[in-house]
Point group: C2
Chain length 209, copies 2
DNA sequence: TCACAAAGTGGCACTCAGTGCCATAAACTG
DNA sequence: CAGTTTATGGCACTGAGTGCCACTTTGTGA
C-alpha cells in the first residue's frame, strides 16, 4: 500500500550551486558522471533503448539516485540546452552597450556555437538524435523557447523598440528560430559548416520582407 | 517471459482515411470519442492526473484500444495541432496566386484562428494547459514545427525568394514563431483578442529590423 | 445468404518510467 | 567526537506503452 504524506512535487532542478563545499563538488561530479554516461549510451544504442537502469549503472549510481539529479531522460537533454542558452545570455550581456543590439545578440550566439563545436562530444550526432525523435525535438524546442525571456530582457535593457517587452520577446524568438533553422540546414547538408549557416540565417532574418 | 516476433513498431498514426465504409466511419467516431473524453478530463483534472485508464473508460473503450488510436496522451495534443496546420496550409494554397505570398500566408493563419475561436472547446483553457507543462509545450512546438515544410513549399511554389527552399523554410518558421508568440501574448493578457495580437505580431515581423 | 478472410477489440502479462518511504551512509557543525 | 543534516540505495507501487492471443465485427465472393 502506498502512502502519500506530502503534496509537494520533487523538483531536482533546484541545484545547490552556492558554495564550493565538498558536498557541492561531489554533486556536480555525480551530475556530470550521469550526463556523460547518458550521452554515451544515447549515441551508441539510441535514446529509447538507453534505459535509465543502464545509464545509472554506467554512472555508478542507483536508479533512484538518477531521479534525484534529473526528472527524466528528456530533462537531461533540456539541461544541456539550458546551459547553452545561459552561456549565450551571458556572452550577450557582456557585449558593449554601444554596439547594435541585434549585432551583439548574433555575435553572442555565434561565439557560443564556435566554442561548442571545437569542444565537447559529437555535436552533430547529438543533434541528429534530437531531430529524429518528436519527444526529444519537442524538449529541445521547449528548452530553446526558455531562452526568449532572458534574451528579450537584455534587448529591452539596450532600449530596442524603446524597451517594449512584447516586441522584444518577438525579436528574441525570431533570432532563436533563425538559429534553429540554421542548425537544421546544417544537419541536412553536411557540406557547409554550422557557422556559415547561422550567419546566413541571421542575414536573411535582417533582410526579411 | 516476453517474446518479440516482430521488429516493426506500432504506428497508429497511419490513418485509413480512404473511403466512407462502415469500418472507416466507426474508426473516426471512436477517435473523436477518445479525443473528446481526453480533453474533457484534461480540462477538469489536468493533464497529468488524466490517466489513459480514465480517458479510455470515459470514451467507452479499453486501455489497449486507446493505444491503437494514439501513441500517447501527448500525441493526442499534436494531432490537434497537426490538423490545425493542415487547415492553414489548405487555406493558404487556395489564396489567389496574384496576392503577395506573405499576405496570403498571414491571412490563412488568421482565417483558421478565427474559425477556431468561435467553434470548439475552450481554446484559451487548452492553451493554458499547454503553456504550463514542458512536455506538452514541447509537443506543441514540435507539431507546429511540422508546419514549416508544407508552408515553405507553398511559398516556394509562389516563387518567393525565387523558390530557394532553405530561405522559404526560414520564412515559414518565422511566421510560425510570430504566430506562437502572439498566442503567448494573448494568453498572458486576456484583454486584447487573439486576432489583434496575431496581426500585431505579423506586422512587427514584416517591419523587423 | 452464408462461409471465409480481414480488421478491430479486449484482456493479460511484461518492461520501463517515475515517485513515496524508510533505513543507512556520508558530510557538515560545534 | 557526538549530533544534525543531507545524500544514497532499496523496495514497493502506479502508470505508460507494447506483444500476444482469443474473440468479435466488418467486408467479400460464391
Amino acid at each position: 500500500m502506498q502512502k502519500i504524506n506530502s503534496i509537494a512535487v520533487e523538483v531536482p532542478v533546484a541545484e545547490p550551486e552556492d558554495n564550493g563545499s565538498l558536498r557541492e563538488r561531489k554533486h556536480q561530479l555525480v551530475r556530470r558522471e550521469i550526463e556523460d554516461a547518458a550521452w554515451e549510451l544515447f549515441l551508441s544504442v539510441g535514446f529509447d533503448k538507453a534505459t535509465i537502469e543502464a545509464i545509472s549503472r554506467n554512472a555508478g549510481v542507483s536508479r533512484r539516485t538518477f531521479f534525484r539529479y534529473f526528472q527524466s531522460k528528456e530533462e537531461l537533454l533540456s539541461a544541456s540546452v539550458r546551459d547553452f542558452g545561459d552561456r549565450i545570455a551571458q556572452c550577450f550581456a557582456q557585449k558593449p552597450r554601444t554596439m547594435d543590439a541585434f549585432q551583439a545578440l548574433a555575435e553572442a550566439m555565434l561565439a557560443v556555437i564556435c566554442e561548442e563545436m571545437k569542444d565537447e562530444h559529437q555535436p552533430r550526432e547529438m543533434l541528429g538524435l534530437i531531430f529524429e525523435d518528436p519527444n526529444l525535438r519537442g524538449r529541445f524546442l521547449w528548452a530553446m523557447s526558455q531562452w526568449v525571456p532572458v534574451l528579450s530582457q537584455e534587448l529591452a535593457r539596450r532600449k530596442v523598440y524603446r524597451g517594449d517587452p512584447a516586441r522584444c520577446d518577438l525579436a528574441a524568438a525570431l533570432y532563436c528560430t533563425a538559429f534553429d533553422q540554421a542548425h537544421m540546414q546544417w544537419f541536412r547538408e553536411p557540406g557547409r559548416d554550422l557557422e556559415t549557416q547561422v550567419k546566413r540565417a541571421f542575414r536573411q532574418l535582417r533582410e526579411f520582407s
